[in-house]
């Protein structure tokens, strides 16, 4: 160990705090100017921490389940009544849906429509959220090991949640549609009015750049438009809940503060977003990285 004179050591101790404060401020500014600079660290730490977070989040899940069950027991009779009514109503809808599916298939056959690509899903658990008041993201416990890639859409049974922005091998980050940096091409269902759904960290994101603003009414359903090729079209997003003032706002179908599991949709479209420069390939993974480069999609991107 290096021996320092007491004065020098005291000097170092006294200057540590101001130096670290300045360093933090510098990091903030550097990180703001170049968002990608800390991405490697971020992904690495997320991967390393995901088993810990996963384990810590589990007791919370158990407590919630117990509370849920207690709450369920109280309202069980009314719930049953409601479900019976729902069931009767849904059986009618099922008939309608079956009839329409058959008709649709027939018409598509007549028109020789190119079928949509097969969609596959990966379901993952939410293991962390963003905590503060200035970002809206969640971390999920699946990553490139489960063949997730950057840009894919995350949904629940209710609708769109967000898209993947950072993907490690075991964990990935989902940028929620309410985040300040989230911009999603959408349209009003049943019309061709397209718009951009822009988050502003509030619970209800705004609709910007609307093609025909006068056509947007409270209660209109908003779905993804599929423009830009990032998301598959027609994923339900939310309903228009307010117009006027600062423009229309959308109430998301998904209760974003209560996410438990999300499904990541592999629609075969990922790659529309520019991929980050891959982290320095470790010796063992070099072969894999080289194989990725020969991916025809990647080559096409490069050519664009």
């Amino acid at each position: 160990m290096i021996r320092l004179s007491p004065q020098l050591r005291a000097g170092i101790q006294r200057s540590t705090l101001p130096v670290l404060i300045l360093l933090s401020a510098a990091i903030v500014i550097v990180g703001k100017t170049d968002q990608a600079i800390f991405e490697t660290f971020r992904i690495g730490l997320n991967d390393a921490a995901s088993p810990v977070l996963d384990v810590m989040a589990r007791p919370l899940g158990a407590v919630e389940a117990a509370l849920d069950r207690a709450r369920g027991l109280i309202g069980i009779y009314q719930e049953n009544r409601r479900l019976e009514q729902d069931n009767a109503r849904l059986l009618q809808w099922q008939q309608v849906a079956l009839k329409l599916t058959a008709e649709n298939r027939q018409l598509q056959g007549l028109l020789k429509v190119v079928p949509d690509r097969a969609v596959s899903y990966v379901t993952a658990r939410v293991i962390a959220n963003s905590g503060g008041a200035y970002v809206r993201t969640v971390m999920i416990n699946a990553g490139s090991d489960s063949s997730l890639t950057r840009g894919q859409a995350a949904i629940t049974g209710d609708g769109l949640v967000g898209r993947l922005t950072e993907v490690g091998s075991r964990a990935a980050r989902v940028l929620l549609i309410t985040d300040l940096n989230s911009r999603i091409p959408v349209r009003i269902e049943g019309s061709r009015t397209s718009a951009v759904l822009a988050g502003d960290n509030s619970e209800r994101p705004r609709l910007l750049y609307i093609a025909a603003p006068e056509g947007v009414k409270i209660g209109d359903r908003v779905v993804t438009s599929g423009e830009g090729g990032v998301f598959p079209p027609d994923l339900p997003v939310g309903v228009v809940s307010a117009t006027g003032g600062s423009g229309p706002r959308v109430e998301p179908y998904v209760e974003l503060s209560q996410l438990n599991y999300v499904m990541v949709v592999d629609y075969g479209l990922s790659g529309a977003l520019p991929q980050p420069i891959p982290p320095m390939a470790r010796p063992g993974k070099r072969g894999k990285a080289a194989a990725n480069n020969e991916d025809p999609q990647a080559t096409a991107r490069g050519a664009r």
């Binding site: 670290l20 800390f38 503060g132």
Partner: protein, 182 residues
């Protein structure tokens, strides 16, 4: 901006290396607790700043066991895990430490309401500071609603956190020493 040396009675030395780690460890745990997904409606916007409470507590009672380098590491780790702007968390914790350290002799040995009032100032300052910082960084006037809610929640949760931290301190940091001296 050198900090003045503290002139109150010197803090008793803690010899057990495990006990010396307690302040940093509790701060790290507080930082992780704040990002665990609790499914309460609107909660994600309202997570209390738990690490801030730990830093406030330990800076008052055991600043010798709270090295700035450790706070820096916790802050950076928190930012990376939470997906927020890197450095903001570290900056918050370090500035809080520096500010509380300047005034800590006013808080040592005082009654809880006084300590709580002090925390109200610290949390208020930190939240307003964060809000201004984010407004500047985004070149945008951000709605202060979430910031105000988070501030109120943080101040309201402080007594519980302070109780737990005080218990932890007595049991793990101060306790063994008292037993040994007897």
């Amino acid at each position: 901006m050198a900090l003045r040396d503290f002139t109150a009675p010197a803090l008793p030395r803690v010899n057990s290396s495990a006990a010396r780690l307690v302040p940093l460890l509790t701060t790290a745990i507080a930082a992780i607790l704040a990002i665990l997904p609790l499914r309460i409606p609107g909660y994600a916007a309202l997570t209390p700043a738990l690490a801030l409470m730990a830093v406030y507590h330990w800076t008052i009672y055991r600043p010798d066991l709270l090295p700035p380098l450790g706070l820096f590491a916790i802050g950076i780790g928190e930012d990376l895990l939470a997906g927020s702007l890197v450095g903001v968390g570290a900056l918050t914790l370090l500035v809080t430490y520096a500010a509380v350290f300047q005034f800590r002799r006013h808080f040592v040995g005082r009654s809880f309401p006084f300590v709580w009032a002090g925390f109200t100032l610290v949390a208020g300052g930190a939240m307003v500071g964060l809000w201004i910082l984010h407004c500047l960084l985004e070149f945008n006037f951000m709605n202060p609603r979430n910031t105000v809610f988070r501030m109120v929640l943080t101040i309201a949760v402080f007594p519980a956190a302070s109780f737990l931290l005080g218990r932890t301190q007595r049991a793990l940091v101060d306790g063994p020493r008292l037993l040994r001296n007897r």
